[in-house]
Amino acid sequence: MNAPAEAELTDHELLQAHVDGDPDAFAVLFRRHRDRLWAVALRTMGNPDDAADGLQDGMIAAYRRAGSFRGDAAVTTWMHRVVVNACLDRLRAAKVRRADPLPEDLDDFGDRGSLATSTTDAADPADLAVVDERRRMVLAALDQLPADQKAALILVDMEGYPVAEVAAMLDCAVGTVKSRCSRGRARLATLLGVLRPGGDPDHLGTGNPDPLSSVRTTEASRAPPDLG
């Protein structure tokens, strides 16, 4: 398969060419979408090593099962479904929930100033460091969710796929995806302290400790204010 020809073929055409025996077609197809598939695997598995294993499993499964693709959805939807299922199978087989505690400095984090409104366009290295650390906290909290909620949030809120398409990827009803996202967001909000009484959602980790947090403060008492 020469370069000009492969660039003109649609995903469906490449997959069909692979099923028909073209030795290069699947590699072209996979190369076209591998960065996004890698991102999904990485966020689902939580670390690069496991992500590479999960993505390899999914790639092999897609290579071998290409003949079963019925063309009733986008090829990328099907490929995401195969990869996500491979990753979830690995997570379930390991039967290990990632129990990484939230960062030790969670309660002091608010002292560093506002986090939520800064963007990656900030030129100030200090702001970039804050964004990076906020991302790390979000990912750590994400890893504490049940696998199905985590997968739904990764595909809907991180990757931006429509709920209907994610339902096809996860082979479940649209309502199920919505429910998983809703419950997952509620858990994240609790883990990240977005719901703290009087708390500012723009300040992760400020104020009294989150009761579900694994970190205990040594500072302010949680007793009610003295009104006497």
């Binding site: 025996g21 030795p23 290069d24 699947f26 590699a27 996979f30 591998r34 960065d35 890698w38 991102a39 990485l42 966020r43 690069p48 992500a51 590479a52 993505l55 390899q56 499993d57 790639m59 092999i60 499964a61 290579y63 071998r64 099962r65 003949g67 079963s68 491979a86 199978d89 379930r92 939520a116 990656t120 964004v131 906020r134 991302r135 979000v138 990912l139 994400l142 049940p146 696998a147 199905d148 909620q149 949030l153 990764i154 809120d157 991180m158 990757e159 931006g160 998983r180 419950r183 967001r185 509620a186 858990r187 994240l188 909000a189 609790t190 990240l192 977005v194 719901l195 959602p201 723009d202």
Partner: protein
């Protein structure tokens, strides 16, 4: 697979809080390309998959299984007819039913032992395992009732339950013809099992061709009147498909 139960009641988020969580998740999206070492690794795996495809350089081409099956069935019918003739002329008289030397000896064996379709037919040179006996390039053969369950079952993803139940019924129609597969059968089918094969789980394993590609059919222990049938990848034991069939 259903969600794991949440620990305790969950708060209901305001629109602002939900937007904030969604914004944080979007910010945590991974936008960098796949690392070079992962690219190299997956490229190598893909190259291996392509290299092992039937018809690729160094790998035997796919043979016309239907034509092969017709030739085998024709030889079996002739051998059966020869057995009837032998029985009619008395013991000890041999009939040449083929111009092929290997088929001659096969036909002779069949004539000596009576009707075609017996378990002894599997010892004839033109057996389903001729690929494994001395011609490994022949590739896997489609099963016939005489081959029992040692030949690869031909399974289609869109007719999986039907294909499994039909071929099991054919194989067990004559209980004397059933031969359970061994490691050589899987090798001959292009699907060598890793050692140990425990990763395939409990159940009976059979070589299969799933949509034309080597795979393993695992029949799980029956539960009442039904049992689960899983189609698994050869080397990784990943589940490719799964159906529930009547227990046999």
């Amino acid at each position: 697979m259903s969600d794991q139960p949440d620990a305790g009641p969950l708060p209901e988020l305001t629109p602002a809080q939900e937007s904030e969580i969604r914004r944080l998740l979007a910010e945590a999206r991974h936008d960098e390309p796949m690392p070079v070492d992962v690219v190299d690794r997956l490229d190598a795996v893909l190259a291996g998959l392509t290299r092992d495809e039937p018809g690729s350089e160094g790998v035997a081409p796919v043979i016309d299984l239907a034509a092969r099956r017709r030739r085998r069935n024709a030889a079996a019918l002739l051998a059966g007819a020869a057995a009837v003739v032998v029985a009619g002329f008395g013991i000890g008289q041999m009939i040449d039913v083929s111009s092929n030397d290997s088929a001659d000896s096969g036909a002779t064996v069949n004539a000596d032992r009576g009707a075609a379709g017996s378990a002894d037919d599997q010892e004839a040179p033109e057996s389903h395992l001729e690929g494994g006996d001395g011609n490994p390039s022949e590739g896997p053969a489609a099963p016939t009732p005489m081959d029992g369950l040692a030949a690869p079952l031909s399974l289609r993803s869109d007719h999986l339950e039907r294909d499994i139940t039909h071929q099991l019924r054919l194989a067990y129609a004559d209980a004397s013809s059933v031969r359970t597969p061994d490691a050589k059968d899987f090798i001959a089918a292009g699907c060598p099992l890793p050692s140990p094969a425990t990763k395939f789980g409990l159940g009976d394993l059979y070589p299969a061709l799933f949509d034309g590609r080597p795979a393993v059919l695992a029949l799980r222990p029956p539960t009442g009147d039904t049992q689960q049938a899983d189609v698994l990848a050869c080397s990784t034991a990943d589940t490719l498909a799964s159906v529930t069939i009547p227990s046999h």
